[in-house]
Amino acid sequence: MVTSNTDLGYNSKVEGGVVVSRADAMINWIRTNSMWPMPMGLACCAIELMAVGGARFDIARFGAEVMRFSPRQSDCMIVAGSVTYKMAPQVRRIYDQMAAPKWVIAMGACASSGGMYRSYAHMQGVDRIIPVDVYVSGCPPRPEALLDALMKLQDKVRREPSAKRLMSA
């Protein structure tokens, strides 16, 4: 941009110190770019989840690299792996402990639908106990697929009426 302003720093006289935006846009911008995951790693999908955190795929590019093992500090639960009925109440308990706003990604076939585990011990899809925002197919999914799911979730969060929800909460 061609400008006569030669100051290197921020000049409040030029900008007026005011940025006009919508509250929704601001809140959602903050939320989408600092979505801290709760890594609910239950099986082999968790290995791919670790790969997503590594340098090659680097989930940090999307602001979601801070895997929080405390549900109190996390925004997005990534259910990576097979959820047995024995584990299911604990998954729900951890979801309940997360502070709102919170989202869930069901990573892989097992978490999404029970996958190949059609048996007495396996929950047929984690959406039977917690509300899932994005499902990722694959057994296990490629790391790119999880990044795609995160981007889709960010798209979803960008369109949420966050300000209205905050006021009514």
């Binding site: 059609r118 007495y120 011990a121 047929q124």
Partner: protein, 216 residues
């Protein structure tokens, strides 16, 4: 040599009989002599390692219904491996077998798994709780009468069950157990799929419709 162990075992315990086996030597032992036989094998035949402890459910109504199987290995006598089988006592609903935790502490969790899956009560076990399914689960899943898809029950934790309104349901079998085909070069063809795809949860299985696990 494996034959040494079985022949000297049969000399010491004449009630021990040979058991048909395709690979390694195996013997049948009456349940009452089981602990004595295992103790003899551990102490005098150097079978110091209990490799596995499992059970067989022959069929509903079969006599005997349950058989416990012990896999023994000697770490000092190379290649010495022996299987011991004993028919369970007790009833069909509550079969019993003696615990061998006192001989091999490693039998503890094996016996718990065996109890969990088959419902065999190991008498003398220090802590016979379920190990895979949760405490309070009402069935023993590896019994023949238990369907692979499972039986509807409550979730393990009551307040979560009430909060979510979810139960343990019979899994949709959609054409029967899924089986992967081995030796396929084409990976798409090797994917696990139903053996009989003529039926699903929506279309009843033509011959045995009463076997369907999921009600509509």
């Amino acid at each position: 040599m494996p034959d040494d162990a079985t022949s000297s075992l049969k000399e010491r315990f004449p009630q021990v009989t040979d058991r048909p086996s395709a690979d390694l030597p195996a013997v049948n032992v009456p349940l009452g002599d089981l602990v004595a036989v295992l103790r003899y094998l551990r102490d005098e035949q150097a079978f110091d390692l209990l490799m596995d402890l499992t059970a067989i459910d022959w069929a509903e109504g079969a006599a005997p219904r349950f058989t416990v199987v012990y896999h023994l290995l000697s770490t000092t006598r190379a290649g010495t491996y022996l299987r011991i089988a004993a028919n369970c006592g007790g009833t069909d609903t509550e079969p019993t077998a003696p615990s061998v935790v006192s001989l091999w502490p490693g039998a503890n969790w094996h016996e718990r798994e065996c109890f969990d899956m088959f419902g065999i009560k190991f008498e003398g076990h220090p802590d016979l709780r379920r190990i895979l399914m949760w405490d309070g689960y009402p069935y023993h899943p590896l019994r023949k009468e238990f369907p692979l898809a499972g039986i509807e029950t409550d979730l393990p934790i009551a307040d979560i069950a009430a909060e979510t309104g979810t139960k343990v349901i019979a899994a949709p079998m959609a054409g029967g157990p899924f089986v992967a085909s081995t030796g396929e070069i084409n990976l798409t063809e090797a994917e696990p799929r139903a053996k009989d795809e003529s039926w699903s949860d929506r279309r009843a299985r033509p011959d045995q419709s009463e076997l369907r696990q999921v009600k509509e």
